[in-house]
Amino acid sequence: MLTRRRLAVLTGCAVAAAGLPVAARAAVPGAAAFIKQAGDRFLAVINAPGTMRGKQQQLRQIVEQDVDVTGVGRFVLGRFWRVATPAEQQQYMAVFRQILVYNVTTRIGDYKGATFTIGRTTARAEGTVVDTTINAPNNPPTQVQWVVQDVGGQPKIVDVIAEGTSMRLTQRSDYASVIVQNGGKVAALIAAMQHQLAGLQAQPG
């Protein structure tokens, strides 16, 4: 039986899980054009001549400009954002930001010489979804969907969906599992993330 208390709990959980205000989301005009520009910028840096270090710096700027890193970070931490202390929140965001950038920049080799085409745009609850087909050399064409939201007046990417799997949902499950396996401590997650970041930084290139 759906009592008022249970309804309140469920709503609270949904809000806590989303970390976002419960509101309808308006479609982002020009989302397809934004994805096209962001993709062109990204590929221009990858395909241009230059050192790996220089490219990583430029890609870092593009990620900060085009991706809502703070929003994604809060979504990924999910219901534990409210449980974390302000210090932990800051630490988490700092490490999350760096890991996100690393995950993008270490894939430079995969996308050299790649092209992409823009498909349909759909407005959904989580944002405006732009379909793209990415043609990377030596790979079959992959269907990737980009979820765009209006953040502070600017369109920003908040999620990547490949083969029906959402990147931020997957990462949220991952991080939540780490926290739960470690007795509900956010500090354990931050330690694991820092350990992973150290491993990424130790890699050459």
Binding site: V9, C13, G164, T165, D174, S177, G184
Partner: protein
């Protein structure tokens, strides 16, 4: 939900036997309890043990074989081997399309089976795609989902990997639906059957070498990541199948006045 309730006695027996049941969080923490129910992995400790064993076997046996397969066999040949395996699976796909009530999909599968087996020389060449019959894969697990069966608690199975009660039943049903299970008898036929499953496993693992490596590198908890990916992927497959309502009226026939719902 009915299916989940029916599974409870079986789960209780399994839990008693394996002592590998997760303890749900206390009711005083409603957010944690809701998350636990949503994750729907009551056998998590046992699943994690099976994952560890599976991972060890994969790293020691299946992955090196897949890597050797990729190194030795040229890309074009691997692509055509994949085509042959897809064609051998086509009768199962056809049967499931019909049971799902998807006439255009069933038509695609039937034409693929006929064209690729004949003009495609036993499935080696994917001639049907060029004629407008794209490839799609389906199984009895998706059929059950479309019939309204809940996916049930998460199960990580030895060899088969991420699954659940519904998908496990689907796997068994697909073997029963496969005509090659019943055709012929004798040592040679049995060997061919094993060869087919063996090559299929290696071929699939070879295709997944890069994705799985990347997941293991970037995930803090690979078990939870695979669980999430599997579930999302299955849900997306079921959703895409459900949404495929392409019209079955041929183009040259006078179209009905009311527009048929088209695929997205």
């Amino acid at each position: 939900m009915r299916d989940a309730a029916r599974l409870l006695p079986l789960l209780a027996v399994m839990c008693a036997a394996l002592a590998g049941c997760a303890t749900p969080p206390p009711a005083s923490d409603p957010a944690a309890l809701a998350a636990f129910k949503q994750t729907n992995d009551p056998l998590e400790p046992s699943n994690r043990v099976v994952y560890k064993v599976n991972n060890a076997v994969d790293t020691a046996v299946l992955k090196p074989v897949a890597q050797g397969y990729v190194a030795v066999v040229p890309h074009v040949v691997r692509h055509h081997i994949g085509n042959v395996l897809d064609n051998l699976n086509e009768p199962v796909v056809l049967a499931n399309d019909m049971m799902q009530g998807k006439p255009r999909r069933a038509g695609d599968s039937l034409m693929r089976l006929l064209i690729n087996s004949t003009a495609g020389v036993g499935g080696i060449f994917d001639v049907a795609r060029r004629l407008g019959y794209p490839n799609h894969d389906t199984d009895f697990g998706i059929t059950l989902a479309l019939w309204g069966v809940h996916s049930g608690p998460y199960l990580y199975l030895p060899v088969l990997g991420p699954s659940g009660p519904r998908d496990l039943v689907g796997f068994g049903a697909d073997i029963a639906l496969d005509p090659f299970t019943w055709v012929g008898q004798g040592a040679a036929v049995a060997d061919l059957g094993y060869a087919r499953y063996g090559v299929s496993a290696v071929n699939t693992r070879a295709q997944l070498l890069k994705p799985i490596d990347q997941i293991k590198r970037t995930a803090l908890d690979p078990y939870a990541t695979f669980r999430s990916l599997y579930r999302q992927h299955r849900r997306a497959e079921v959703k895409a199948t459900r949404a495929d309502n392409r019209a079955t009226v041929p183009d040259w026939f006078p179209q009905p006045k009311t527009p048929q719902p088209k695929t997205q």
